[in-house]
Symmetry: C2
Subunit: 346 residues, 2 copies
């Protein structure tokens, strides 16, 4: 529903004032702040109308108005203008992410860290899913008399290492045999296909050789599982405890939710592929009913992939947060793309 120009301006002013101060604002104060050329009564009439339509609410009779979720929603969808991040801001983000451009995981950890620092909110990020990736190569490094490390390189750029133990003494020749046999079997196989039955059939194929390698096979299975599962990281979560008008119990519940990888993963999975803002009850989780999530997905190979998101109180500066997130997301897309190119072109 479209609002008349003046009403929109009033709604906008109320929201911006509230985002800044956290205090309800009344008709007279609003005129002082915005320099509207009408009387307070007129503003009051408009405010009453906006309240009827569900955009505003009065915490109590003798207080001013504050926005409802619907009010924020209208503001985000129709009023707010997004200022792109400045060049120096972009440089800063780029530099910070570049430092940890070792692996997708570390890039996304840095991304969450940077988003949290720049927005002052909690930030979460998920690594790209490796469901469609394949095993690119497996290598071995001897680490002890009876231990060695399997290095599994996946086509999505993820590299996983896993130690394993053998009963017998490991020699370079044995690792050489493992290398040949296992690359033959596993190279090109989808990560998702490497489960216990697959490992068992593979072991059967190796005949007596398989007696030597239960540890290796388990290590590879574990590594493959690690490479395909979505990793979640959260940063700056405790910042939510320092929000000016925080409700202790609610903040605590949000933190608990963000620390639970499983629930969080499910939430991130269901976020839309483009930049989106999810306010209060729009989030499916009760824990988040007084929080807002601004989320975006970065691209890998041209397709929307993992999520980067900021989580904070409904009262946040949406414009600023969106612009930061989009900038970080672009940068992550680029760096992960480069990483995959370098690792996979072998």
């Amino acid at each position: 529903m479209e609002l008349a120009a003046r009403k929109e301006k009033i709604l906008s002013a109320i929201i911006e004032s509230y985002i800044q101060t956290g205090e309800p604002i009344g008709s007279k104060a609003l005129i002082n702040e915005t320099g509207l050329e009408v009387s307070s009564a007129t503003v009051r009439n408009d405010m009453a109308d906006l309240t009827n339509k569900g955009y505003l609410i009065q915490p109590h009779t003798s207080a001013g108005r504050i926005p409802t979720r619907q009010g924020y929603r209208y503001y985000v969808d129709n009023i707010m203008t997004i200022m792109p991040v400045s060049q120096s801001g972009r440089d800063f983000i780029e530099a910070r992410l570049y430092e940890s451009a070792d692996s997708p995981e570390s890039i996304l950890q840095s991304a969450a860290q940077v988003v949290s620092e720049l927005t002052g909110l909690a930030a979460v990020a998920s690594t790209p899913s490796g469901e469609d990736s394949r095993i690119h190569k497996i290598s071995f490094v001897q680490t002890g008399l009876h231990t060695a490390m399997a290095v599994v390189i996946a086509s999505n750029g993820i590299i996983k290492t896993k130690l394993f133990r053998c009963e017998f003494v490991i020699t370079p020749e044995i690792l050489e045999v493992f290398d040949r046999a296992l690359n033959e079997t596993f190279a090109g196989i989808r990560l998702a296909a490497i489960n216990r039955p697959f490992i068992q059939t593979a072991a059967a194929r190796f005949g007596e050789l398989s007696l030597f390698m239960p540890g290796v096979l388990m290590a590879i299975m574990e590594a493959a599982k690690g490479a395909r599962s979505v990793g979640i990281c959260a940063r700056g979560v405790t910042k939510l405890l320092f929000m000016p008008d925080v409700n202790f119990v609610k903040a605590r519940a949000v933190i608990e939710f963000l620390n639970n990888e499983h629930d969080l993963a499910r939430l991130l999975e269901n976020l839309p592929p483009d930049t989106s803002v999810s306010i209060g009850r729009e989030n499916s989780r009760v824990e988040l009913e007084s929080s807002a999530i601004v989320s975006t997905r970065y691209d890998v190979g041209g397709n929307p992939s993992g999520v980067i998101a900021a989580v904070g109180p409904v009262r946040m500066d949406y414009g600023r947060v969106i612009s930061i997130l989009e900038c970080v997301s672009d940068c992550v897309s680029r760096l992960i793309g480069e990483l995959i190119d370098t690792n996979a072109n072998q």
Copy 2:
């Protein structure tokens, strides 16, 4: 200072009641709970004396008494009896730690996790310092056309991997050259000695070969730095927010402190080598003035090494926490010992 038997019993009862309920307790209630065969007036006299001596305090005139830090201290030092963890408890801890006996880091992460779960408090752990360790071996795995991974194995059982990039195309032969040259240079060198100047002199020694390896050398330096630096991990920190009589602002400060690796590392460093309890102001940090830390050090090679500690409110069940910590610590000592034996005997 020694206390008379009845006074000690009264102090003990007050502390145990307060640990359980969190409420101040008065003379009459105390008699009901403990079944003391004296009148409330007698108890009151003793309580007044204990208060004069600094073991108890009255939050306000019309409330009962609660222990002071000195009271807890006396309790911990002279009264408390420690029940060792049951066999099934020990088995549980052992099993949990064994699952992640891959590396010292992961053992200590699990240790912190287990301590936090069993005590219901926040738990922190630090990895053994690698200051005295040496480089055992360096290996290489090619991960892409222009990228490879250096695997640095240290004598303390820590294995660090680090990716590096070269401008030229990497071949197995080049990695072979790296392997030979770098193991010759670095094997047996103390991790602490591998700093920028050392790398530069090494590079000079390689002559024109060094032009090919700036990335490798940096990777090794980073890995060595990672292997020798003490890693800190904290688990269950947000549990502090759910403590029954938590003061929001204080809990928040503690959490902030525990999340700051640098400050936390300094605190852990200065903890004594044996099991110890540090109550309230006994902790050097103001943030912890209403917290207590129960800490212990696990052994590596027979010497007290890293720390495992539980952090919670002063009002905690010290006996239980100490017994859990000592059990976990023993288990960690054993597992890390085995790990080093397997990896270093090569």
